[in-house]
């Protein structure tokens, strides 16, 4: 088999893995948009905040320590504990649920019935607030996140492919783990939305707020629940990306990677987010591999958007989005 074809296969597989990571971010957007029609600009910052909180809780960091020390002249930084990852994750989920409750209580409760653009603007404000709030709470220095996920080359794949192609493929163990987590997450979300009372209520709210209210569904509860689930998804994305690069501000920019995925997969489809992520991941990696060297490289960022725009030309609602029919 020609070397270039073997390399292309390796690039293809890595594209799939990268796509899963993009899809993890996109899922959070889809959940909130599907249930409330809000495009949550703060989803990337939520991933950053969740990851910062996880590290802070695990490492026993005193929240707002810089502020406390500056005001009171104390020197408190740590509680002195190091918690296992599982306890850290559970604690962070609880904090994300509290955050969801606060977001609903303080912001969106007062904006029911407003235009989508108003809700979108509110999420922009939320994003900027959380950026500063997170820094003040946990500090802005880069943090190492280690929840025990395996990282580095998968030796079994390396050896197996070497025996077949005379070239060992590189697949990162972290990416394989992320794929498994994403599959479980999507499966869980599908089961939740299809087979539980709360999930069906969420879908009812998504279909028609007024009709759902008229049959006794609590809009308030559903929105808190959706923001909580989106917060959990943000935590998962934050763990995966934060393990790769450390927890720092740039984690919030992973939202940029989710946008073409959403455009391609559709804003209202969970499977769309997954398939969109895979198409974007594979597309950008193969384009970089084949065309990149001819035009100077660094094509991935813009190619993802070009690919998404091409899909929009033919399917404005995305591959899996709901077709919107508005009668005049």
């Amino acid at each position: 088999m020609p070397d270039q074809l073997v390399y292309a296969m390796e690039v293809f597989l890595n594209g799939l893995m990268a796509g899963v990571l993009y899809a993890l971010v996109a899922l959070g957007f889809v959940l909130i948009y599907k249930a409330s029609g809000i495009f949550n600009y703060a989803q990337g910052v939520m991933a950053l905040f969740a990851a910062m909180t996880l590290v802070g809780v695990m490492e026993g960091q005193v929240p707002f320590s810089h502020l406390i020390n500056a005001v009171l002249g104390t020197k408190v930084h740590h509680f002195g504990w190091h918690l296992p990852a599982l306890i850290g994750i559970v604690s962070t989920v609880v904090i994300m649920v509290v955050l969801a409750w606060l977001v609903q209580r303080i912001i969106f409760k007062h904006l029911v019935g407003q235009e989508p653009i108003i809700l979108f603007m509110a999420t922009i404000g939320l994003a900027y607030f959380m950026e500063g709030f997170g820094d003040m709470m946990w500090g802005s220095e880069i943090k190492k996140l280690d929840v025990g996920l395996p990282q580095g080359i998968n030796l079994w794949i390396d050896e197996t492919t070497y025996n077949i192609f005379d070239y060992g493929f590189f697949i990162d163990n972290l990416d394989i783990f992320a794929t498994i987590i994403a599959a479980i997450l999507v499966g869980g979300l599908v089961i939740f939305s299809q087979y539980t009372k709360e999930g069906r209520a969420m879908r009812a709210v998504a279909d028609d707020h007024q009709a759902a209210l008229s049959v006794g569904v609590s809009l308030n509860f559903i929105w808190i629940m959706v923001w909580s689930v989106a917060g959990f998804v943000a935590l998962v994305a934050g763990i995966m990306w934060g393990t790769k690069s450390g927890v720092q501000f740039s984690l919030s920019l992973i939202a940029l990677k989710a946008l073409p995925v959403l455009m391609l997969g559709g804003f209202t489809s969970i499977p769309g987010a997954i398939v969109g992520g895979l198409i974007i991941g594979v597309g950008e990696k193969l384009f970089e591999f084949t065309v990149g060297p001819l035009i100077g490289g660094a094509t991935e960022n813009w190619f993802a958007y070009v690919l998404a725009l091409l899909v929009l030309v033919f399917r404005p609602q995305g591959l899996f989005g709901e077709k919107i029919i508005e009668r005049v």
């Binding site: 390399y7 390796e10 690039v11 890595n14 990268a18 810089h66 020390n69 002249g73 930084h77 950026e131 500063g132 820094d135 500090g139 802005s140 220095e141 880069i142 190492k144 996140l145 280690d146 990282q151 580095g152 080359i153 590189f170 990162d172 990306w241 790769k244 690069s245 450390g246 720092q248 501000f249 740039s250 984690l251 920019l253 992973i254 990677k257 990696k285 970089e288 591999f289 990149g292 100077g296 490289g297 660094a298 991935e300 960022n301």
Partner: protein
């Protein structure tokens, strides 16, 4: 009655307060945004050094110090706004900490007659002081860095790197592209093969670049990165089991922030350095006594001695020594902006002066002149030891290859002069 009382208070205050001259400096810093976690230690070091001079010595040459900090978020437009908002305060020199902001400020400071000091960044050809009269980029620039990086590879290969494959992983921006021309020229001289691998901002995803490195197996990888791009690149290098001792970053890719996320496997990674990278210097005792313990530190005081804190402190030290030189030349302590430019141009950093400052061996000795605004371009190589959690300088400071760099400086500065109708002069 109230008006009378207020007038009396104001009049009394005006009489009681002596007119104090101040030496005003600017700190265009960034504590927010994608690069904030690197901008914070630098800004803290920069501000803390001026605070130390104020608290310990009462200022510079008897004049108290005023530093105006302005947040740029590493954004060029905000940086220019900061300049415009503060230049009326009589700022003696600007250190913008951004190549993008530097390019925008060069014509402005030239028109306004204010000094611009870009230490280890900015427009490399500003080394030609006959063209760039107000701009200083000592003690080293990117082309010095590229050259010394190659010199290091020559050193460890017995002086011969012909046929070797070298990849440059770079931030796809004006900053990241700076070393390319120099590396291309050096490849003609030394016969190595150069591969260019750009990484788009912010650099969170670099799988394609590192798969290519794994396939093509370059002997060495150089990196011109910043922000999240650095730790991701180092992690990817660890993942593909690239030999870390063959991976060398520029000084902006060589802080603790860059290596810590990769853990123990980052050991051996190298980075260029134009100053010391640890805290074994007497000045840090004073810094602790007069600034940190006194509760006057710009930050939490937990960054003292880290690479980027040291760099900010070194930057402030060079600016303050230029001010001291300007005071000596002008024969007065209350110097003007024009005096400050002369101070920069006559700056001489000797080993004796560094020792007197409590910084013996912290940086190389060098001198600045009208013709040479970039110093001697002395750069060393540092290596990360994850076990000890610190950087160690593993080479001597050595000069760059000016036989290659000088023609590039002449060409680029000449083009700027032609474009702006400037003629070289040192009058």
């Amino acid at each position: 009655m109230k008006k009378k009382l207020l007038s009396a208070v104001i009049a009394g205050f005006m009489v009681a307060t002596p007119v104090m001259a101040e030496l005003t400096f600017s700190a265009l810093s960034y504590r927010t945004g994608a690069y904030g976690n690197n901008g914070i230690p630098f800004a803290d070091g920069y501000l803390d050094y001026f605070t130390l001079l104020q608290e310990r010595d009462g200022g510079i040459g008897g004049e108290s110090i005023k530093v105006i900090e302005c947040e740029t978020a590493y954004n060029t437009e905000k940086g220019v706004e900061c300049y415009e908002a503060t230049k009326g305060e009589g700022v003696l020199s600007y250190s913008p900490l951004s190549t993008g902001i530097t390019y925008q400020l060069i014509p402005k400071v030239t028109a306004d007659g204010i000094a611009l000091h870009t230490m280890g960044y900015g427009r490399t050809s500003a080394k030609n002081g006959q063209i760039f009269r107000n701009v200083f980029n000592f003690p080293a620039n990117y082309w010095d860095g590229a050259s010394v990086g190659i010199k290091h590879l020559l050193d460890i290969n017995g002086g011969d790197i012909k046929g070797k494959k070298i990849a440059l992983v770079y931030h796809n921006s004006a900053y990241g592209k700076e070393p390319i021309r120099t590396l291309e020229e050096l490849s003609k001289k030394h016969g190595y093969e150069l591969t260019l691998l750009p990484v788009d901002h912010p650099g969170q995803e670099q799988k394609s670049q590192w798969l290519q490195i794994r396939r093509e197996k370059p002997d060495y990888v150089l990196m011109w990165g910043w922000g999240v791009m650095n730790p991701v690149a180092i992690q990817e290098a660890v993942n593909i089991r690239y030999p870390m001792e063959n991976f060398i970053g520029v000084w902006w890719s060589g802080s603790e922030n860059d290596v810590l996320p990769a853990g123990a496997k980052a050991t051996g990674y190298k980075a260029l350095a134009f100053h010391a990278v640890n805290s074994d210097f007497p000045i840090f005792d004073d810094m602790k006594k007069y600034v940190v313990d006194a509760g006057k530190a710009a930050g939490a005081g937990d960054q003292v001695g880290t690479v980027l804190y040291n760099r900010g402190m070194y930057n402030a030290m060079l600016v303050s020594e230029a001010a001291r030189t300007a005071q000596a030349i002008a024969g007065k302590s209350n110097i003007s902006q024009a005096d400050m430019i002369k101070g920069f141009e006559a700056l001489e950093m000797t080993d004796e002066k560094m020792a007197a400052l409590g910084l013996a061996g912290f940086g190389p000795s060098f001198s600045v002149s009208c013709e040479n605004h970039g110093g001697d371009g002395m750069v060393a190589v540092a290596q990360w030891d994850a076990g000890a959690g610190k950087w160690n300088v593993v080479s001597d400071f050595q000069a760059s290859d000016m036989s290659v760099i000088q023609p590039l400086i002449d060409e680029d500065s000449g083009a700027f002069a032609a474009e702006n109708k400037l003629s070289p002069n040192c009058d």
